[in-house]
Structures are given as C-alpha cells and as structure tokens.
C-alpha cells in the first residue's frame, strides 16, 4: 500500500498547497483523484512519487516509512513508484530517441543486461513500432510520445503508478488505448494506480474509487 498521512506540502514558506491530506493507494486498484485546477493534485502526485519532500506528515511504501526524498531516497523506494506526467514534451530529453527514453530507467538502475528485450516488450505493450522507437521527440506526435513516457514509467515494473493528467493532451482514441495499457499492468502485476484527472467521465470508467481534493 502507498499511503500519505497528514501530508502538508508546498513551494513557498507559509503557503502550503496541501494542508493535511490523507491518501491510500491499494495494490490492484485504481484510485481516481479529482479536484479543480490549483487544488494540489499535482503536488500530491509529486509527494507520492518521492519527488517533493512534504513539510509534515508521512509517506509509507508497503509499510516502510519514506525518510528521504528525491535523489536521497533509497533506490528500492524510488523505483517502486512510476510516474507519467501531463506534458510528454516537458518530460523527455529532446536529444534521446524514443528507445533511449524508454531504456533510461533500466540503464540508470544498473539493469543494462535485459534492456533490448524489455524495450521491445514495452513498445509492443504501449503500441510503438520499431520505426517509432528510432525517432526523437520532435519527430513524433504528442500521443506517440506519451506512449513512450508510459513505457518508461512501466520499465522497472513499479508496484505503484501515478498518472498525473496523463491523457489531458490526448485525443479520445489514444486516451482509451493508454488507459487499457495501465489496466493491463494492474491486472498482470497487481500494481496500485493513482489516476489524477479533471475529467469525471474518464474517472467514472477508469477508477475503482474516486477521491476529491478540496481547493
């Protein structure tokens, strides 16, 4: 279980964006998170992916408290939570090919041995062709790049996945396709998912339960 208890977090001293949020992402379930712009959805995503240290409160990963965040977090905890952001173009290195984008977490975590096979397997899951894997971000569409970002997030077989407005930039067909990929990952690995979206009709068909964050 990925839990946050009494989370207080923000960016400017004295102005917390989250003030005392409790959240519980259970294995094998998709927790939807809704709320208006600016209510702290993305801040909560950053705390739960260990990218932002909360000012107060505690994050626990399968029972173990997370004591350090960002680069200081132990690798075992850092790689247990995958993340897909809203804007694929802002979340990849523009100099990488899509193959390198997908392979990077495996290389960075010392699993270079099985990279080639694993990238092909992931590309197949998310629907990227070998030809697309050879391209760089400026040569593919938003939807194709977001497919690569999802493959990257799944590359280390995370026990939890945070999708922060993963489909907000995408058309209906690509949205449905990527949600299917996430659901297949949940079914095959029992991972827990936090799906952040402002689209109630999407969460209605995707999430097992929906939590609303107040502004």
């Amino acid at each position: 279980m990925l839990t946050g208890a009494g989370l207080v977090a923000g960016y400017t001293r004295g102005h917390p964006v989250l003030s005392g949020v409790d959240v519980e992402v259970r294995p094998g379930e998709v927790l939807g998170m809704a709320g208006p712009s600016g209510c702290g959805k993305s801040t909560l995503a950053r705390v739960l992916t260990l990218l932002l240290a909360p000012w107060a409160g505690e994050v626990r990963l399968d029972g173990a408290p997370v004591r350090r965040f960002r680069h200081a977090a132990p690798r075992e905890q850092r790689t247990a939570v995958g993340v897909v952001f809203q804007q694929p173009r802002l979340s990849v290195d523009p100099r990488f090919t899509l193959r390198e984008v997908v392979a990077e977490p495996m290389l960075a975590s010392g699993r270079a041995g099985d990279v080639a096979d694993r990238v092909d397997e992931l590309a197949d899951q998310v629907g990227l062709t070998a030809e697309l894997l050879r391209r760089r971000p400026h040569e593919v569409s938003d939807g194709q790049l977001q497919r690569a970002c999802l493959a990257r997030a799944l590359s280390l077989r995370p026990r939890y996945l945070v999708c922060d407005e993963m489909t907000a930039m995408l058309d209906a067909s690509t949205t449905a396709a990527l949600v299917r990929v996430v659901n297949a990952h949940v079914e095959s690995t029992g991972a827990g998912v936090l799906a952040i979206s402002h689209d109630d009709s999407l969460l209605g068909v995707w999430a097992d339960r929906v939590m609303r964050l107040a502004p």
């Binding site: 208006p36 930039m169 058309d171 949205t175 689209d199």
Partner: protein, 336 residues
C-alpha cells in the same frame, strides 16, 4: 457531465453568404533543401465554408494537421510551407481578401486581429510575462482601433464581455489561473472586433468547468453573429456547443455536417471510432496508428484501421472523395 447533456446548437437557418470560404486548401512542408528529404503533407484538399453564427469545430487526433490549417489561414506558417488552393474572406464592405496569396502587409495590416481574431493554445504562454493584462489589452486596442476616443473604456467593455473581473486586469500573467488567462486571450482576440474568430485548442489543460466556460464563451461569439472555427481534440467540449463539426484524419477532412446529426449518427468509420473511444461511448480505442504525414497511402488513409473493412474482409481501393449528401459530406466509399 453538463456538456453532453446539452442539446446541440444549430446554426441559424438560411444564414448569409460565407464569411470565409476555403477551397481545396493544401499545405505541404518540404524537408531538406528543396524537398530533398521528402515532404510532409499536413493539409490536403480541405474545403469548407464558415458563415456568421456558425461555430464549426475541427476535430481529429494530434498531429493530423488541424493547427496547420489555422496557421495557414493567418499566414503564420514557416518558410518551407507550400500552399495550394484558396481561402477567401469576405469583408463587411463587400470586398474580398484572398488569404493564401495575400502579402504580409495585408495580413498584418488588415487581416490579423481585424478580420480574423486568434485565440491561441495555452494562452498564458502567449501573454507578455512582464506586463499586466490591462496593459496588453490596451496596447491591442490602440493598435487595432487607432481612432478610438476612449480605448480604456473599450478594455473595460471587453473584460466585461468575456466575464473578467476588472481587478483581474491589473494582474500579471503568472498571477492568472489557466481559465482566466484564457479569457484574457479571448478578450485580446476581440479587441479588433473581428467577424471571424479562430480558436486553436482553446481548452487544453483546463479543468472541466473551465472548459465549459470557455466553449460557452466561444458559442456566445457565434450567437452574436461572428463565425467561429474551434480546433480541438476534445470531443466532449465540441459536442456541447458546436453548430457544425468537421473531422480531420491524416491531413484530409473526412466528414463535415451539422454537429447534432454527426454526433448522433456518424457516417465515417473514423468519426464513429472517435465517439466510441469516449468514456461514455464505450472507451474502445481505434486499433493501430494514424499514418505518417510523410508517407500517406494513395487510397483511403483510414483503411488499415477501418472497422467496416475488418468485419467484411474487403479491400478499399481508390481514394474516397468528400461527397455531399444533403447537408452533410463524407469521404467514405462504403454505402452509408
């Protein structure tokens, strides 16, 4: 879901002659010097009319050529773009401007902002970060209406028109929420009182209530007699307010018609596929990928993904032309 619950709007019947008439517009980008590395066919033979009171939404997947079409109409394409066809804008004094062949001086001096207003994607990044919303609106009003007695009064009027609190105008862009910045952008587009408004993905990144407010605002512009072209990949947003819808796939328009009828009974299998991919439509993605705009097939570009063909195991050869049936047009060789 307020958006889907609303009745589809209808364009006023017998609406006047088109304000904007696009005929077989094609845009190609040559890659490498002189096209040595091939070409991107971004828009192919697009034809449509835009009348006063119409809110035409152009929908399609990202990368299908929608935004290029809008940029072409405003002369905002890069130098390696090659245009073909015509886009004729009728002016109120009975004159005509041919947008594709107009020199930059005409586009800058008469068209942009004055005859055609643009609401850009991600408005916050289009505003100058170091000046307040009011100062930018005032600059636009002074530039577009030089003879006006009371430009500050018009700024207040524009703000009221788009539902902005006067106090908000004195904020800097980083102090505006996404929805408020979008309203400032609409006010800017209206500064020159243009009869035609182009909105390029005006709702991307906004949450659902803000999407509804933005599209309602655009619908209001159509209701007061302007012609609005809204480009979007958000079918749910389009559905509530559009009078007409045009569906684009792989650089071509594949279906055009009154919004209510197209959404209720799509004729083109791609339109049907998009609607079936919506959460409330079954959430089934269209299999496969759209073709590359650098390597479009000769026949129907949708054939490899077509549900009609899959079921019947038939081949669809030859390119389907956009054919008119009453008030709708569809480019599909299957009988409808």
């Amino acid at each position: 879901m307020t958006t889907t619950a609303r009745e589809p709007r209808q364009a006023p019947l017998g609406a006047a002659t088109p304000l904007l008439s696009v005929d077989r517009l094609s845009v190609r980008f040559l890659l490498g010097r002189g096209g040595r590395r091939g070409e991107v066919r971004a828009v192919t033979d697009a034809s449509f009319d835009l009348r006063p009171g119409q809110l035409l939404t152009l929908v399609g997947e990202s990368g299908c050529g929608k935004s290029v079409l809008a940029s072409a109409l405003l002369g905002l394409l890069p130098g390696n773009a090659q245009l073909r066809g015509t886009a004729t804008l009728s002016t109120q004094d009975g004159g005509r401007v041919e947008l594709l062949s107009a020199p930059e001086s005409v586009l800058a001096g008469r068209v942009r902002g004055r005859l055609v207003g643009l609401v850009p994607q991600s408005s916050a990044t289009h505003l100058t970060p170091v000046r307040t919303a009011r100062s930018q609106l005032l600059e636009a009003v002074r530039a577009l209406r030089p003879g006006l007695d009371d430009p500050a009064g018009l700024v207040d009027h524009l703000a009221e028109r788009v539902g902005l609190e006067p106090a908000v105008l004195d904020r800097y862009p980083h102090e505006l929420s996404g929805g408020t910045a979008q309203r400032v952008a609409v006010a800017l587009a209206l500064a020159g009182d243009p009869p035609v408004v182009l909105a390029d993905e005006p709702t991307t990144g906004l949450d659902r209530p803000l999407v509804d407010r933005t599209v309602d605002l655009l619908a209001g512009l159509a209701e007061e007699g302007r012609a609005v072209l809204m480009i979007t990949h958000d079918l749910a947003a389009a559905r509530g307010v559009a009078t007409d819808v045009a569906v684009m796939y792989a650089s071509r328009l594949v279906e055009i018609g009154p919004a209510g009828r197209v959404f209720d009974d799509p004729w083109h299998p791609y339109t049907a596929g998009l609607l079936a991919a919506l959460p409330e439509g079954g959430f089934t993605p269209i299999p496969g990928h759209p073709p590359e705009l650098t390597a479009l097939p000769d026949g129907c570009a949708f054939a490899p993904r077509c549900a009609l063909l899959g079921a019947r195991d038939e081949r669809c050869t030859g390119r389907p032309e956009l054919v008119r049936h009453d008030d709708r047009m569809v480019a599909c060789r299957r009988p409808c």
